[in-house]
Protein backbone atom coordinates (compact mmCIF):
# COMPACT_ATOMS: atom_id res chain seq x y z
CA UNK A 1 0.00 0.00 0.00
CA UNK A 2 1.19 3.41 -0.83
CA UNK A 3 0.21 5.22 2.31
CA UNK A 4 2.48 7.02 4.78
CA UNK A 5 5.30 7.16 2.26
CA UNK A 6 6.19 10.64 3.43
CA UNK A 7 6.25 9.63 7.10
CA UNK A 8 10.01 8.76 7.30
CA UNK A 9 10.89 12.14 5.79
CA UNK A 10 8.49 13.95 8.11
CA UNK A 11 10.00 12.18 11.14
CA UNK A 12 13.49 13.05 9.98
CA UNK A 13 12.49 16.69 9.56
CA UNK A 14 11.28 16.78 13.16
CA UNK A 15 14.81 16.20 14.44
CA UNK A 16 16.76 18.19 11.85
CA UNK A 17 17.77 21.79 12.44
CA UNK A 18 15.89 24.36 10.35
CA UNK A 19 17.25 24.91 6.83
CA UNK A 20 16.35 28.59 6.89
CA UNK A 21 18.21 31.27 8.83
CA UNK A 22 16.67 34.16 10.72
CA UNK A 23 17.99 36.59 8.15
CA UNK A 24 18.40 40.08 9.58
CA UNK A 25 19.70 38.67 12.89
CA UNK A 26 22.09 36.25 11.16
CA UNK A 27 23.72 38.10 8.25
CA UNK A 28 23.84 36.30 4.91
CA UNK A 29 27.25 35.15 3.70
CA UNK A 30 27.69 35.76 -0.01
CA UNK A 31 30.01 33.31 -1.79
CA UNK A 32 33.28 34.50 -3.30
CA UNK A 33 32.79 36.02 -6.72
CA UNK A 34 29.14 36.89 -6.11
CA UNK A 35 27.84 39.27 -8.78
CA UNK A 36 26.03 41.75 -6.55
CA UNK A 37 26.89 45.20 -7.85
CA UNK A 38 29.65 46.99 -9.77
CA UNK A 39 32.34 48.93 -8.00
CA UNK A 40 34.96 51.17 -9.56
CA UNK A 41 38.47 52.21 -8.53
CA UNK A 42 37.78 55.62 -9.98
CA UNK A 43 41.35 56.91 -9.64
CA UNK A 44 42.60 54.19 -12.01
CA UNK A 45 39.93 54.95 -14.63
CA UNK A 46 41.29 56.50 -17.83
CA UNK A 47 37.84 57.50 -19.10
CA UNK A 48 38.16 55.49 -22.31
CA UNK A 49 34.39 54.84 -22.40
CA UNK A 50 34.70 51.15 -23.26
CA UNK A 51 32.25 50.25 -20.48
CA UNK A 52 29.73 52.79 -21.79
CA UNK A 53 29.87 51.33 -25.30
CA UNK A 54 29.58 47.69 -24.24
CA UNK A 55 26.85 48.04 -21.56
CA UNK A 56 23.76 46.12 -22.83
CA UNK A 57 21.36 48.39 -20.93
CA UNK A 58 23.08 51.72 -21.47
CA UNK A 59 23.21 52.64 -17.81
CA UNK A 60 26.79 53.95 -17.64
CA UNK A 61 28.25 57.34 -18.56
CA UNK A 62 31.79 58.66 -18.41
CA UNK A 63 33.26 62.18 -18.56
CA UNK A 64 36.99 62.14 -19.19
CA UNK A 65 37.60 65.86 -18.55
CA UNK A 66 35.63 66.07 -15.30
CA UNK A 67 36.91 62.65 -14.22
CA UNK A 68 33.48 61.22 -13.43
CA UNK A 69 31.86 57.81 -13.89
CA UNK A 70 28.09 57.45 -13.38
CA UNK A 71 25.82 54.44 -13.05
CA UNK A 72 22.09 54.10 -12.60
CA UNK A 73 22.07 51.10 -10.30
CA UNK A 74 18.37 50.34 -10.91
CA UNK A 75 19.03 49.93 -14.65
CA UNK A 76 22.14 47.79 -14.19
CA UNK A 77 21.56 44.05 -14.75
CA UNK A 78 24.90 43.05 -13.14
CA UNK A 79 25.91 41.03 -16.19
CA UNK A 80 29.59 41.85 -15.72
CA UNK A 81 30.29 42.65 -19.39
CA UNK A 82 31.87 46.02 -18.53
CA UNK A 83 34.10 44.32 -15.94
CA UNK A 84 35.32 41.95 -18.62
CA UNK A 85 35.90 44.71 -21.18
CA UNK A 86 37.60 47.34 -18.93
CA UNK A 87 41.19 47.73 -20.25
CA UNK A 88 42.56 49.04 -16.92
CA UNK A 89 40.64 46.45 -14.85
CA UNK A 90 39.41 49.19 -12.52
CA UNK A 91 35.82 47.83 -12.56
CA UNK A 92 34.91 44.80 -10.50
CA UNK A 93 31.85 43.00 -9.21
CA UNK A 94 31.33 43.19 -5.46
CA UNK A 95 29.15 41.34 -2.97
CA UNK A 96 25.79 42.70 -1.86
CA UNK A 97 22.78 43.57 -3.98
CA UNK A 98 21.29 46.96 -4.72
CA UNK A 99 18.94 47.85 -1.90
CA UNK A 100 15.46 49.18 -2.65
CA UNK A 101 15.22 52.93 -3.01
CA UNK A 102 12.62 55.68 -3.14
CA UNK A 103 13.70 57.16 -6.43
CA UNK A 104 15.76 56.29 -9.47
CA UNK A 105 18.85 58.20 -10.42
CA UNK A 106 22.52 57.97 -11.26
CA UNK A 107 25.30 57.63 -8.74
CA UNK A 108 28.35 59.59 -9.82
CA UNK A 109 31.91 58.78 -8.79
CA UNK A 110 34.48 61.56 -9.16
CA UNK A 111 38.24 61.24 -9.07
CA UNK A 112 40.03 62.64 -6.01
CA UNK A 113 41.25 66.28 -6.39
CA UNK A 114 44.92 65.25 -6.29
CA UNK A 115 44.48 62.79 -9.16
CA UNK A 116 42.39 65.33 -11.08
CA UNK A 117 45.04 68.05 -10.50
CA UNK A 118 47.81 65.68 -11.56
CA UNK A 119 45.86 64.73 -14.67
CA UNK A 120 45.15 68.41 -15.42
CA UNK A 121 48.84 69.21 -15.07
CA UNK A 122 49.72 66.28 -17.29
CA UNK A 123 47.19 67.46 -19.84
CA UNK A 124 48.56 71.01 -19.75
CA UNK A 125 52.10 69.73 -20.09
CA UNK A 126 51.06 67.60 -23.01
CA UNK A 127 49.27 70.58 -24.57
CA UNK A 128 52.32 72.79 -24.04
CA UNK A 129 54.53 70.10 -25.52
CA UNK A 130 52.20 69.77 -28.49
CA UNK A 131 52.14 73.55 -28.96
CA UNK A 132 55.94 73.69 -28.80
CA UNK A 133 56.22 70.86 -31.28
CA UNK A 134 53.77 72.64 -33.60
CA UNK A 135 55.74 75.88 -33.33
CA UNK A 136 58.98 74.05 -34.08
CA UNK A 137 57.35 72.37 -37.06
CA UNK A 138 56.09 75.71 -38.38
CA UNK A 139 59.48 77.33 -37.94
CA UNK A 140 61.16 74.46 -39.70
CA UNK A 141 58.67 74.74 -42.55
CA UNK A 142 59.27 78.51 -42.75
CA UNK A 143 63.03 77.99 -42.77
CA UNK A 144 62.74 75.39 -45.47
CA UNK A 145 60.58 77.70 -47.59
CA UNK A 146 63.12 80.54 -47.16
CA UNK A 147 65.98 78.22 -48.13
CA UNK A 148 64.09 77.07 -51.19
CA UNK A 149 63.39 80.67 -52.18
CA UNK A 150 67.08 81.55 -51.78
CA UNK A 151 68.09 78.56 -53.85
CA UNK A 152 65.64 79.59 -56.53
CA UNK A 153 66.95 83.16 -56.51
CA UNK A 154 70.59 81.98 -56.78
CA UNK A 155 70.35 79.38 -59.52
CA UNK A 156 67.01 80.54 -60.93
CA UNK A 157 68.25 82.37 -64.08
CA UNK A 158 68.68 79.28 -66.23
CA UNK A 159 65.54 77.73 -64.85
CA UNK A 160 63.64 80.98 -65.46
CA UNK A 161 64.88 81.08 -69.03
CA UNK A 162 63.83 77.48 -69.49
CA UNK A 163 60.43 78.23 -68.02
CA UNK A 164 60.05 81.27 -70.27
CA UNK A 165 61.00 79.17 -73.29
CA UNK A 166 58.46 76.59 -72.29
CA UNK A 167 55.84 79.26 -71.89
CA UNK A 168 56.70 80.71 -75.29
CA UNK A 169 56.35 77.30 -76.89
CA UNK A 170 53.03 76.83 -75.21
CA UNK A 171 51.92 80.24 -76.46
CA UNK A 172 53.09 79.38 -79.96
CA UNK A 173 51.22 76.08 -79.75
CA UNK A 174 48.04 77.93 -78.95
CA UNK A 175 48.12 81.30 -80.68
CA UNK A 176 44.46 82.06 -79.98
CA UNK A 177 44.99 81.72 -76.26
CA UNK A 178 48.07 83.98 -76.44
CA UNK A 179 46.03 86.68 -78.14
CA UNK A 180 43.09 86.32 -75.83
CA UNK A 181 45.16 87.00 -72.70
CA UNK A 182 46.19 90.60 -73.59
CA UNK A 183 42.68 91.27 -74.82
CA UNK A 184 41.35 90.16 -71.46
CA UNK A 185 43.92 92.44 -69.82
CA UNK A 186 42.61 95.43 -71.74
Amino acid sequence: MGILKYAPQALKNLFLPPVTTSYPAVPFEYPEGSRGHIEIDIDDCIGCGMCVRCCPCGTLSVDRIKGTWSIDRFDCIACGFCVEKCPKKCLHMAKGYQTPGGEKGSVTYTKSPEVLAAEEQKRQEAAAKAAAAKKAREEAAKKKAAEEAAAQAAGGAGAAAQAAGGAGAAAAGAPDAGKAAPAGGV
Binding site: I3, K5, P31, E32, S34, C54, G80
Partner: protein
Protein backbone atom coordinates in the same frame (compact mmCIF):
# COMPACT_ATOMS: atom_id res chain seq x y z
CA UNK B 1 -25.91 15.44 -22.88
CA UNK B 2 -25.34 18.18 -20.35
CA UNK B 3 -25.37 21.89 -20.76
CA UNK B 4 -22.37 23.38 -22.55
CA UNK B 5 -20.71 26.50 -21.29
CA UNK B 6 -17.38 28.31 -21.66
CA UNK B 7 -15.37 29.28 -18.63
CA UNK B 8 -12.06 31.15 -18.66
CA UNK B 9 -8.88 29.76 -17.08
CA UNK B 10 -6.26 32.43 -16.41
CA UNK B 11 -4.45 34.66 -17.30
CA UNK B 12 -4.25 34.96 -13.51
CA UNK B 13 -4.55 31.57 -11.88
CA UNK B 14 -3.17 30.34 -8.56
CA UNK B 15 -1.71 27.17 -10.05
CA UNK B 16 1.02 28.94 -12.00
CA UNK B 17 2.39 32.45 -11.73
CA UNK B 18 2.59 33.05 -15.46
CA UNK B 19 -0.20 34.38 -17.64
CA UNK B 20 -1.79 31.89 -20.02
CA UNK B 21 -5.44 32.09 -20.92
CA UNK B 22 -7.53 29.04 -21.81
CA UNK B 23 -11.15 29.14 -22.87
CA UNK B 24 -12.53 25.88 -21.56
CA UNK B 25 -15.64 24.56 -23.27
CA UNK B 26 -17.20 22.36 -20.61
CA UNK B 27 -20.13 20.04 -20.48
CA UNK B 28 -21.16 19.63 -16.85
CA UNK B 29 -17.75 19.11 -15.20
CA UNK B 30 -16.03 17.62 -18.26
CA UNK B 31 -13.80 19.63 -20.58
CA UNK B 32 -14.77 19.24 -24.24
CA UNK B 33 -12.30 21.64 -25.78
CA UNK B 34 -9.64 24.11 -24.69
CA UNK B 35 -8.71 27.18 -26.75
CA UNK B 36 -5.44 28.77 -25.64
CA UNK B 37 -4.39 32.36 -26.04
CA UNK B 38 -1.01 33.77 -25.16
CA UNK B 39 0.46 37.25 -25.60
CA UNK B 40 0.19 38.87 -22.18
CA UNK B 41 3.90 39.21 -21.47
CA UNK B 42 5.45 39.96 -24.85
CA UNK B 43 8.68 41.91 -24.27
CA UNK B 44 10.14 42.19 -27.77
CA UNK B 45 13.54 40.69 -26.93
CA UNK B 46 14.07 39.48 -30.50
CA UNK B 47 13.69 42.97 -31.96
CA UNK B 48 16.47 44.24 -29.68
CA UNK B 49 18.94 42.97 -32.31
CA UNK B 50 18.51 46.38 -33.98
CA UNK B 51 19.90 48.16 -30.94
CA UNK B 52 22.36 45.76 -29.33
CA UNK B 53 25.40 44.30 -31.03
CA UNK B 54 25.95 40.57 -31.25
CA UNK B 55 28.07 40.42 -28.09
CA UNK B 56 25.53 42.33 -26.02
CA UNK B 57 22.76 40.09 -27.37
CA UNK B 58 24.28 37.19 -25.39
CA UNK B 59 23.00 38.84 -22.22
CA UNK B 60 19.65 39.67 -23.80
CA UNK B 61 19.15 36.10 -25.07
CA UNK B 62 19.96 34.80 -21.60
CA UNK B 63 17.18 36.86 -20.10
CA UNK B 64 14.55 35.19 -22.30
CA UNK B 65 13.79 32.85 -19.42
CA UNK B 66 14.55 32.89 -15.72
CA UNK B 67 14.83 29.13 -15.31
CA UNK B 68 16.64 27.86 -18.41
CA UNK B 69 18.62 31.09 -18.74
CA UNK B 70 21.98 29.40 -19.21
CA UNK B 71 20.72 27.22 -22.03
CA UNK B 72 19.27 30.23 -23.86
CA UNK B 73 22.63 32.00 -23.68
CA UNK B 74 24.42 28.84 -24.73
CA UNK B 75 22.09 28.30 -27.70
CA UNK B 76 22.68 31.82 -28.94
CA UNK B 77 26.46 31.63 -28.46
CA UNK B 78 26.73 28.24 -30.18
CA UNK B 79 24.72 29.56 -33.14
CA UNK B 80 26.99 32.61 -33.51
CA UNK B 81 30.10 30.43 -33.08
CA UNK B 82 28.90 28.19 -35.92
CA UNK B 83 28.51 31.28 -38.12
CA UNK B 84 32.06 32.35 -37.26
CA UNK B 85 33.16 28.73 -37.73
CA UNK B 86 35.28 28.76 -34.56
CA UNK B 87 35.99 25.73 -32.41
CA UNK B 88 35.83 26.59 -28.73
CA UNK B 89 38.23 25.01 -26.21
CA UNK B 90 37.26 21.56 -24.93
CA UNK B 91 37.28 22.74 -21.33
CA UNK B 92 34.80 25.49 -22.17
CA UNK B 93 32.53 22.85 -23.74
CA UNK B 94 32.64 20.75 -20.58
CA UNK B 95 32.03 23.79 -18.37
CA UNK B 96 28.98 24.65 -20.47
CA UNK B 97 27.74 21.08 -20.09
CA UNK B 98 28.13 21.12 -16.31
CA UNK B 99 26.29 24.43 -15.99
CA UNK B 100 23.57 23.30 -18.41
CA UNK B 101 22.98 20.14 -16.38
CA UNK B 102 22.94 22.07 -13.10
CA UNK B 103 20.32 24.30 -14.73
CA UNK B 104 18.32 21.24 -15.77
CA UNK B 105 18.49 19.83 -12.24
CA UNK B 106 17.19 22.99 -10.65
CA UNK B 107 14.48 23.37 -13.30
CA UNK B 108 13.21 19.81 -12.80
CA UNK B 109 13.33 20.09 -9.00
CA UNK B 110 11.38 23.33 -9.26
CA UNK B 111 8.82 21.57 -11.45
CA UNK B 112 8.51 18.62 -9.06
CA UNK B 113 7.75 21.13 -6.30
CA UNK B 114 5.20 22.96 -8.46
CA UNK B 115 3.53 19.64 -9.34
CA UNK B 116 3.26 18.71 -5.67
CA UNK B 117 1.80 22.16 -5.01
CA UNK B 118 -0.68 21.71 -7.88
CA UNK B 119 -2.13 18.54 -6.39
CA UNK B 120 -2.09 20.03 -2.93
CA UNK B 121 0.85 18.23 -1.29
CA UNK B 122 2.47 21.21 0.44
CA UNK B 123 5.09 19.20 2.35
CA UNK B 124 6.38 17.54 -0.77
CA UNK B 125 6.56 20.96 -2.45
CA UNK B 126 8.74 22.35 0.35
CA UNK B 127 10.91 19.26 0.38
CA UNK B 128 11.58 19.41 -3.39
CA UNK B 129 12.50 23.09 -3.20
CA UNK B 130 14.71 22.41 -0.22
CA UNK B 131 16.76 20.04 -2.38
CA UNK B 132 16.75 22.58 -5.22
CA UNK B 133 18.34 25.14 -2.91
CA UNK B 134 21.54 23.07 -2.83
CA UNK B 135 21.74 23.16 -6.62
CA UNK B 136 21.20 26.92 -6.58
CA UNK B 137 24.01 27.28 -4.03
CA UNK B 138 26.35 25.40 -6.38
CA UNK B 139 25.35 27.69 -9.23
CA UNK B 140 25.89 30.79 -7.11
CA UNK B 141 29.28 29.53 -5.97
CA UNK B 142 30.51 28.94 -9.52
CA UNK B 143 28.92 31.80 -11.47
CA UNK B 144 28.19 34.48 -8.86
CA UNK B 145 24.43 34.50 -9.41
CA UNK B 146 21.60 32.14 -8.62
CA UNK B 147 19.53 32.14 -11.81
CA UNK B 148 21.02 34.37 -14.51
CA UNK B 149 24.45 32.79 -14.95
CA UNK B 150 26.03 35.31 -17.40
CA UNK B 151 29.13 33.17 -17.96
CA UNK B 152 28.74 32.56 -21.69
CA UNK B 153 30.38 34.60 -24.37
CA UNK B 154 30.79 34.17 -28.08
CA UNK B 155 33.93 32.01 -28.29
CA UNK B 156 33.79 30.25 -24.94
CA UNK B 157 33.03 31.00 -21.31
CA UNK B 158 34.11 33.79 -18.97
CA UNK B 159 34.63 31.95 -15.70
CA UNK B 160 36.35 28.73 -14.77
CA UNK B 161 35.29 26.18 -12.17
CA UNK B 162 38.26 25.48 -9.91
CA UNK B 163 39.28 22.00 -8.78
CA UNK B 164 37.99 22.70 -5.26
CA UNK B 165 34.63 23.82 -6.61
CA UNK B 166 34.45 20.70 -8.81
CA UNK B 167 34.98 18.56 -5.70
CA UNK B 168 32.18 20.43 -3.90
CA UNK B 169 29.88 19.98 -6.92
CA UNK B 170 30.68 16.28 -7.04
CA UNK B 171 29.87 15.90 -3.34
CA UNK B 172 26.71 18.00 -3.49
CA UNK B 173 25.17 16.25 -6.50
CA UNK B 174 25.68 12.97 -4.62
CA UNK B 175 23.81 14.45 -1.63
CA UNK B 176 21.06 15.73 -3.91
CA UNK B 177 20.74 12.31 -5.51
CA UNK B 178 20.49 10.59 -2.11
CA UNK B 179 17.86 13.05 -0.86
CA UNK B 180 15.85 12.73 -4.04
CA UNK B 181 15.92 8.91 -3.75
CA UNK B 182 14.10 9.37 -0.43
CA UNK B 183 11.51 11.61 -2.08
CA UNK B 184 11.22 9.36 -5.12
CA UNK B 185 9.11 6.82 -3.26
CA UNK B 186 6.67 9.57 -2.28
CA UNK B 187 6.36 10.79 -5.86
CA UNK B 188 6.12 7.35 -7.43
CA UNK B 189 4.45 5.17 -4.79
CA UNK B 190 2.31 7.33 -2.52
CA UNK B 191 -1.36 6.51 -3.09
CA UNK B 192 -2.55 10.13 -2.79
CA UNK B 193 -0.06 11.20 -5.45
CA UNK B 194 -0.95 8.28 -7.70
CA UNK B 195 -4.66 8.97 -7.41
CA UNK B 196 -4.08 12.44 -8.85
CA UNK B 197 -1.59 11.49 -11.56
CA UNK B 198 -2.14 7.97 -12.94
CA UNK B 199 -4.28 7.82 -16.06
CA UNK B 200 -4.91 11.58 -16.17
CA UNK B 201 -4.37 13.49 -19.42
CA UNK B 202 -3.15 10.64 -21.59
CA UNK B 203 -1.29 11.69 -24.73
CA UNK B 204 -0.59 8.73 -27.00
CA UNK B 205 2.65 8.34 -28.95
CA UNK B 206 0.89 9.08 -32.25
CA UNK B 207 -0.76 12.22 -30.87
CA UNK B 208 2.50 13.46 -29.37
CA UNK B 209 4.26 12.89 -32.68
CA UNK B 210 1.56 14.49 -34.83
CA UNK B 211 1.24 17.54 -32.59
CA UNK B 212 5.00 18.08 -32.55
CA UNK B 213 5.52 17.75 -28.81
CA UNK B 214 9.06 17.82 -27.51
CA UNK B 215 11.10 17.26 -24.41
CA UNK B 216 9.78 15.34 -21.39
CA UNK B 217 6.19 15.53 -22.72
CA UNK B 218 7.18 13.61 -25.88
CA UNK B 219 9.49 11.26 -23.96
CA UNK B 220 6.70 10.43 -21.47
CA UNK B 221 4.57 9.38 -24.47
CA UNK B 222 7.23 7.00 -25.71
CA UNK B 223 9.08 9.13 -28.27
CA UNK B 224 12.80 8.76 -27.71
CA UNK B 225 13.91 12.24 -28.72
CA UNK B 226 16.66 14.11 -26.96
CA UNK B 227 18.52 16.91 -28.74
CA UNK B 228 21.54 16.39 -26.50
CA UNK B 229 22.33 13.42 -28.71
CA UNK B 230 23.11 15.88 -31.52
CA UNK B 231 26.37 16.38 -29.63
CA UNK B 232 26.52 20.12 -29.04
CA UNK B 233 28.71 21.37 -26.15
CA UNK B 234 30.43 18.27 -24.71
CA UNK B 235 27.47 15.89 -24.99
CA UNK B 236 29.14 14.01 -27.85
CA UNK B 237 31.82 12.91 -25.36
CA UNK B 238 29.37 11.69 -22.71
CA UNK B 239 27.20 8.59 -22.49
CA UNK B 240 23.58 9.55 -22.70
CA UNK B 241 20.42 7.52 -23.06
CA UNK B 242 17.07 9.38 -23.13
CA UNK B 243 14.67 8.67 -20.26
CA UNK B 244 11.53 7.34 -21.90
CA UNK B 245 8.20 6.25 -20.45
CA UNK B 246 5.34 4.80 -22.46
CA UNK B 247 2.15 5.60 -20.54
CA UNK B 248 1.80 9.23 -21.67
CA UNK B 249 -0.13 10.31 -18.56
CA UNK B 250 0.75 12.82 -15.82
CA UNK B 251 2.48 10.10 -13.82
CA UNK B 252 4.77 9.25 -16.75
CA UNK B 253 5.70 12.91 -17.17
CA UNK B 254 6.51 13.11 -13.45
CA UNK B 255 8.59 9.91 -13.65
CA UNK B 256 10.50 11.16 -16.71
CA UNK B 257 11.50 14.42 -15.09
CA UNK B 258 12.41 12.72 -11.81
CA UNK B 259 14.71 10.24 -13.57
CA UNK B 260 16.20 13.04 -15.67
CA UNK B 261 17.52 14.61 -12.47
CA UNK B 262 19.49 11.39 -11.84
CA UNK B 263 20.60 11.47 -15.47
CA UNK B 264 21.89 15.02 -14.98
CA UNK B 265 23.79 13.93 -11.85
CA UNK B 266 25.37 11.16 -13.90
CA UNK B 267 26.27 13.54 -16.74
CA UNK B 268 27.86 16.02 -14.30
CA UNK B 269 29.97 13.22 -12.80
CA UNK B 270 31.03 12.06 -16.26
CA UNK B 271 31.89 15.63 -17.29
CA UNK B 272 33.98 16.20 -14.14
CA UNK B 273 36.05 13.07 -14.78
CA UNK B 274 36.47 13.61 -18.52
CA UNK B 275 37.21 17.34 -18.41
CA UNK B 276 40.73 18.37 -19.49
CA UNK B 277 42.71 19.91 -16.62
CA UNK B 278 44.29 23.16 -17.75
CA UNK B 279 43.15 24.92 -20.85
CA UNK B 280 42.17 28.39 -21.90
CA UNK B 281 38.49 29.23 -21.59
CA UNK B 282 37.75 31.12 -24.78
CA UNK B 283 39.07 31.72 -28.27
CA UNK B 284 39.14 35.28 -29.61
CA UNK B 285 36.51 36.02 -32.23
CA UNK B 286 37.39 38.67 -34.80
CA UNK B 287 35.00 40.56 -37.06
CA UNK B 288 31.24 40.37 -37.33
CA UNK B 289 28.97 37.40 -38.03
CA UNK B 290 28.19 36.87 -41.69
CA UNK B 291 25.86 33.99 -42.46
CA UNK B 292 23.03 32.12 -40.82
CA UNK B 293 22.65 29.10 -38.57
CA UNK B 294 19.91 27.00 -37.02
CA UNK B 295 20.85 25.76 -33.55
CA UNK B 296 18.80 23.05 -31.85
CA UNK B 297 19.29 22.24 -28.22
CA UNK B 298 17.57 20.38 -25.43
CA UNK B 299 16.39 22.64 -22.68
CA UNK B 300 14.83 21.33 -19.45
CA UNK B 301 11.40 21.83 -21.01
CA UNK B 302 12.23 20.40 -24.42
CA UNK B 303 13.75 21.30 -27.73
CA UNK B 304 14.51 24.95 -28.50
CA UNK B 305 15.52 26.43 -31.86
CA UNK B 306 17.83 29.35 -32.31
CA UNK B 307 17.96 30.99 -35.73
CA UNK B 308 20.63 33.67 -36.11
CA UNK B 309 21.32 35.57 -39.33
CA UNK B 310 24.09 38.13 -39.72
CA UNK B 311 25.34 40.11 -42.69
CA UNK B 312 28.81 41.22 -41.64
CA UNK B 313 27.59 44.05 -39.42
CA UNK B 314 27.90 44.30 -35.62
CA UNK B 315 24.11 44.17 -35.40
CA UNK B 316 22.72 40.81 -36.51
CA UNK B 317 19.80 40.84 -38.93
CA UNK B 318 17.49 38.35 -37.30
CA UNK B 319 17.25 36.33 -34.12
CA UNK B 320 14.40 33.87 -33.84
CA UNK B 321 13.80 31.67 -30.83
CA UNK B 322 11.30 28.85 -30.73
CA UNK B 323 10.78 27.69 -27.20
CA UNK B 324 9.62 24.22 -26.09
CA UNK B 325 6.46 25.44 -24.37
CA UNK B 326 5.17 26.77 -27.68
CA UNK B 327 5.59 23.30 -29.20
CA UNK B 328 3.86 21.64 -26.25
CA UNK B 329 0.75 23.87 -26.20
CA UNK B 330 -1.10 21.86 -28.93
CA UNK B 331 -0.34 18.73 -26.92
CA UNK B 332 -1.79 20.39 -23.82
CA UNK B 333 -5.02 21.24 -25.66
CA UNK B 334 -5.28 17.63 -26.80
CA UNK B 335 -4.69 16.16 -23.34
CA UNK B 336 -7.22 18.55 -21.78
CA UNK B 337 -10.04 16.97 -23.79
CA UNK B 338 -12.32 14.72 -21.77
CA UNK B 339 -10.76 15.52 -18.43
CA UNK B 340 -12.38 16.76 -15.27
CA UNK B 341 -12.39 20.50 -14.68
CA UNK B 342 -10.54 19.97 -11.39
CA UNK B 343 -7.59 18.40 -13.25
CA UNK B 344 -7.06 21.33 -15.63
CA UNK B 345 -4.63 23.18 -13.36
CA UNK B 346 -2.60 20.03 -12.82
CA UNK B 347 -2.48 19.26 -16.54
CA UNK B 348 -1.31 22.78 -17.37
CA UNK B 349 1.53 22.32 -14.88
CA UNK B 350 2.58 18.93 -16.27
CA UNK B 351 3.82 20.39 -19.58
CA UNK B 352 6.07 22.65 -17.46
CA UNK B 353 4.85 25.84 -19.13
CA UNK B 354 7.14 28.83 -19.38
CA UNK B 355 4.97 31.54 -20.86
CA UNK B 356 7.56 34.32 -20.62
CA UNK B 357 9.90 32.24 -22.81
CA UNK B 358 7.12 31.51 -25.27
CA UNK B 359 6.30 35.17 -25.79
CA UNK B 360 9.81 36.58 -25.30
Amino acid sequence: MGKRSVIPFGPQHPVLPEPIHLDLVIEDERVIEAIPSVGFVHRGLESLVDKRDFNQMTYVAERTCGICSFQHGMGYCEAVEHIFDVDIPIRAKFLRTIWAELGRMHSHLLWLGLLADAFGYENLFYQAWRIREKVLDMIEMTTGARLIFSVNKVGGVIKDITADQLRIIDGTVTEVEAELRDLEQVFLEDSTVKSRLVGIGILTKEQAHDLGCCGPVARASGISCDMRRLGYAAYSMLDLEPVVATEGDCFARCKCRLYEVYQSVDLIRQAITKMPKEQELAVPVKGNPNGEYFMRLEQPRGEAYYYVKGSGKPFIDRLRIRTPTFANLPGLCEMLKNTELSDVGLLVVTIDPCISCTER
